[in-house]
């Protein structure tokens, strides 16, 4: 395998996101992560819908397809089914995936087709200039609801896990190392890998994630989960998550008789969804936001199911050519 670098994945097109947009960091992290996957460059395919994030494929020097609004999962499914050897990445945003494309999004997760979905969540519509999105915080004032929204937002993790998603990770656009790590693990996971990236829109929704990503608060506001490790956070790593009855709580080791062994150990591979759902819902100020790979479980992939049926039918076929099919069943001769 020839050695590839981030430059091999950089296209000749000028990147046209706004200066300061979180998308730049995601693009750079992707271009750095791919060479490490030791796959041929021509096997990567990037499929996107419509929106700021969906311009991503133009900047990647891979096969790419900028499709139509909301439908990228369907295109990606077609690509993967047609050629299962390809590594298929879907790039989408909160409007593309959760508003116009909500249906395709949940069905991709339900089927567990082996693709990776990067959900750029900036809680706003950027390309149409600043309307609220399905993840915008309730009450936010935008052009399309100047008196504040009355919509309850979607939680991408609840949707994904509720749709039987087998892989859910979350990362912030200010943590390139964690992004690279998660992209790598998502590619290794067999099934639909959903990565929610909390991404800042400097123009229309600046600092919407400041309570999680702000320099002063982040050590107390981020819990970076690692499989098999205790759920510790804070500047001194002495705060952690414990289970009290059916609820999660933040506890400090050494306070109120809490010992290190009381802190929950993260198990991303647990089939039961309950704890993963609770972890993904945690938000400041009461909790830190959970980042890293929250859920990664084994489940048959859609493409494997389709292919194994195909192989079985081919092996046990009554006929192998179309001509044999055409002549099968009730036929009769007309003689001259």
């Amino acid at each position: 395998m020839e050695h590839l670098t981030n430059k091999d994945f950089t296209s000749d097109q000028e990147v046209k996101w706004c200066p300061g947009c979180g998308d730049y960091a995601i693009l750079r992290a992707m271009q750095k992560a791919l060479p490490a996957l030791e796959r041929k460059k021509e096997e990567f395919v990037f499929i996107s819908g419509i929106g700021c994030s969906s311009r991503f494929p133009y900047y990647m020097n891979t096969y790419g397809f900028h499709t139509i609004h909301g439908r990228a999962p369907a295109f990606a499914t077609g690509v993967k089914l047609a050629n299962p050897k390809l590594s298929v990445w879907q790039i989408t945003g909160d409007g593309d995936a959760l508003a116009i494309g909500g249906n395709h999004f949940i069905h991709a997760l339900r089927r567990n087709i082996d693709i990776n979905i990067l959900l750029f969540n900036n809680e706003i519509y950027g390309l149409t200039k600043g309307q609220f999105s399905p993840t915008s915080k309730k009450g936010i004032k935008t052009k399309s609801n100047p008196h504040g929204t009355t919509d309850e937002p979607f939680s991408p993790s609840d949707l994904a896990i509720g749709a039987q998603g087998s892989f859910f990770a979350r990362v912030v656009d200010t943590n390139p190392k964690l992004m690279q790590k998660i992209f790598t693990e998502a590619e290794e996971h067999r099934g639909t890998s959903l990565i929610e990236i909390l991404q800042n829109c400097v123009i229309f929704n600046d600092k919407t994630f400041a309570s999680i990503t702000g320099k002063e608060v982040k050590q107390n506001a981020q819990l970076i989960l690692e499989n098999g490790k205790p759920m510790l956070f804070g500047p001194d790593l002495n705060k952690g998550i414990i289970l009290n009855g059916f609820k999660l709580e933040v506890a400090t080791i050494g306070e109120k008789n809490v010992k290190e062994e009381d802190i929950l150990i993260h198990n991303a591979h647990e089939q039961d969804q309950s704890l993963h759902t609770m972890l993904a819902r945690m938000r400041p100020p009461e909790f830190p936001a959970a980042l890293g790979i929250i859920r990664s479980v084994r489940r048959q992939t859609f493409d494997d199911g389709v292919l194994s049926q195909l192989e079985y039918e081919k092996e046990n076929a009554k006929f192998r050519t179309v001509d044999e099919l055409l002549k099968s069943g009730e036929t009769w001769e007309i003689k001259s």
Binding site: V45, F65, H66, T67, V79, A82, K85, E313, T321, I334
Partner: protein
């Protein structure tokens, strides 16, 4: 079995089976069809069923019918009206009262002519007891009673016994038309292989019906329809939807491309999905998507990755697929969209036939987004048009919309089995590794671009719905480039006229009247023109399969006739399309929008009026 009556030889006959939608009329009709086909009759069939799976029992809305036209002569339509009607209840009689030939034979299940069933059908008194059907040969068969009697020792429950009634009716009609019962017996043995008691019961009831007909004196004679003079060869029955599926399979094999179908169930197109889903052994991947949009988008994805990709739908589904189709036009990817048309607008008449999606197929997208449009015209040639759609889309890398309709899709006819090697070669336009590649560089003759499939080293590129720069395919907002690209996309479709055959006509090369049709109306138009030619009229039929682009010689044909009439099952969409393309030519119209095909009677009388002008 010994026949006690004399046998009368018929040239052709139309039989209609009608009953409640749960009465098994479609199966009864299909059995009669298969048996007649094996005897060498030419035939055409037309199922007519309600959109509801089980509409209220006994009501006119719930009547399901199956019409079959068999002959020893060339048969091109399922027949206008029936010579023989089987009516399993009063509602079936009422629904078909205008579709039975004056003086024809009506076999009724007299056990259902009770107050309750007459009420449900909206009859105050029995139409058999007043003058409603005076002059008809009514055979009052106690089908329910005799079926029960035949099966009283079968051990089957009442419901299962009730379900066998259709076999009694089939037995009666088999006797009337001197057909053997072996084919149906074999069918039942196969269908209910795990339920020998059901097989035995159905066979017994069919024989009971046969013997009933033989015994009663109501039928003065039985009839036979000798085998037709079909071209020598091996035949089978095909339905249009099945033939479409097979045409794609054949194209996939000849093009050496895996077939991918992305589809969402919709009447009357679902049978194409069902048929292809059966043939995974031939490498077909069928994907039942979450909606119509995902159906077309998954197909476009598969096409991008190298499959022969298709999506199948009916009118409302095509509306949903519009944006996806526009992308395939912009990205210049191969794709076939099959629209098995039904009555519209909106949900319209899901189980009825119409040709009202022509404009939608031609123009139903944003921007100027021309698509190739083809139409199949008989159940059998659905095979050829699915194949040609695949060939054009793969060689020119632009989407094709293939229009069929409910009448073709569900209709059946004997089909002389083709070999895939009878079909023309297919040469997909694809770049190979090492080639210098520009995504939007074009073949000078056809203007087709080449695809580069993901997985091909060195040909990485990006496609999308934003306007493309000529040659490079990069995103371009340049004003002049946009105008140029709109022109190229249109010209590319126009140039397909260079590779398609000339339009053919049937009948006189010059004359008084040119009848124009397109797609599924071929059978009725052909029958009428054939009949008028035999009457010495100077008439011809020009039935179009290539809709966009039109064959190059089209305008030449039009010059040779005094009058031109465009016949279609809509308000005049093709007529208007021709007016736009051939200004100055006068196109008269004959239109019908009733959910049914043309009858030969209405066409013949209208054409005669025109010819006498």
């Amino acid at each position: 079995m010994n026949k006690t009556n004399k046998v009368v030889d018929l040239e052709k006959v139309v039989i209609k089976f009608a009953g409640d939608s749960g009465d098994g009329m479609q199966l009864t009709g299909t059995q009669f069809t298969d048996t007649s086909a094996l005897l060498g009759n030419d035939l055409a069939t037309f199922p007519d069923y309600p959109a509801e799976i089980r509409a209220p029992q006994g009501t006119v809305a719930g009547v399901s019918g199956f019409q079959i036209h068999i002959g020893r002569i060339d048969i091109n339509t399922p027949g206008d009206i029936a010579d023989v009607l089987v009516a399993m209840n009063p509602a079936a009689l009422k629904a078909n009262k205008n579709w039975i030939k004056k003086g024809g034979t009506i076999i009724v299940n007299i056990d259902t002519f009770t107050k309750r069933d007459l009420d449900k059908a909206g009859y105050e008194t029995s139409p058999l007891e007043d003058s409603s059907f005076e002059g008809y040969n009514i055979i009052q068969a106690p089908i329910t009673k005799l079926t029960r009697e035949a099966l009283k020792d079968s051990g089957l429950d009442g419901k299962s016994i009730g379900r066998s009634k259709n076999m009694f009716a089939l037995g009666v009609v088999y006797w009337m038309f001197n057909r053997p019962m072996e084919q149906t017996e074999k069918f039942l043995q196969k269908k209910f292989a795990n339920k020998p008691e059901v097989v035995a019961a159905n066979i017994k009831v069919m024989h009971a019906g046969y013997n009933f007909a033989d015994t009663i004196e109501a039928l003065p004679s039985s009839y036979t329809v000798l085998s037709a003079n079909l071209k020598p060869g091996t035949y089978r029955n095909v339905m249009g939807n099945q033939a479409i599926a097979w045409g794609f399979l054949a194209a996939s094999e000849r093009a050496k491309k895996e077939l991918f179908l992305g589809s969402y169930p919709i009447t009357p197109a679902s049978d194409i999905l069902h048929e292809l889903a059966k043939h995974k052994n031939l490498g077909v991947k069928t994907f039942q998507a979450e909606d119509e949009i995902a159906g077309i988008c998954s197909a476009i994805g598969a096409s991008f990755a190298g499959s022969l990709a298709i999506t199948t739908t009916s009118g409302p589904g095509l509306a949903l697929k519009g944006e996806g189709l526009g992308l395939a036009i912009m990205a210049e990817l191969p794709l076939v969209v099959v629209n098995v048309q039904r009555g519209g607008p909106s949900t319209g008449l899901p189980t009825k036939t119409e040709q009202s999606d022509l404009m939608q197929a031609l123009y139903g997208r944003n921007g100027e987004s021309p698509s190739v449009v083809l139409a199949s015209s008989t159940p059998g040639n659905c095979f050829d048009w699915a194949y040609m759609s695949s060939k054009i889309t793969l060689e020119h890398n632009t989407p094709v919309v293939l229009l069929s309709d409910g009448y073709l899709g569900n209709g059946a006819e004997p089909w002389k089995i083709k070999s895939t090697f009878d079909m023309p070669e297919i040469h997909p336009s694809i770049a190979s590794e090492g080639e210098e590649y520009q995504p939007y560089a074009r073949n000078k003759k056809t203007l087709a671009r080449k695809l580069a499939l993901p997985g091909t080293k060195g040909l990485e590129h990006r496609l999308g719905g934003l306007e493309k720069e000529d040659v490079t395919g990069n995103v371009s907002y340049d004003a002049e480039n946009h105008e140029k690209m709109v022109g190229i996309r249109a010209e590319k479709i126009k140039r397909i006229a260079n590779i398609i055959p000339n339009q053919e006509i049937f009948g006189k090369e010059k004359g008084d009247l040119l009848v124009i049709g397109w797609g599924g109306t071929h059978g009725s138009l052909y029958s009428v023109v054939d009949s008028l030619l035999k009457q010495g009229k100077k008439i011809a039929l020009c039935q179009f399969n290539y809709i966009n682009p039109l064959p190059k010689n089209t305008s030449e044909i039009f010059k040779n006739y005094k009058q031109i009439i465009v016949c279609e099952l809509n308000s005049g969409q093709f007529a208007n399309y021709l007016r736009m393309n051939f200004q100055g030519t006068i196109f008269q119209q004959y239109n019908k929008i009733q959910g049914f095909p043309f009858t030969t009677i209405e066409l013949e009388s209208h054409f005669k009026t025109l010819l006498s002008k």
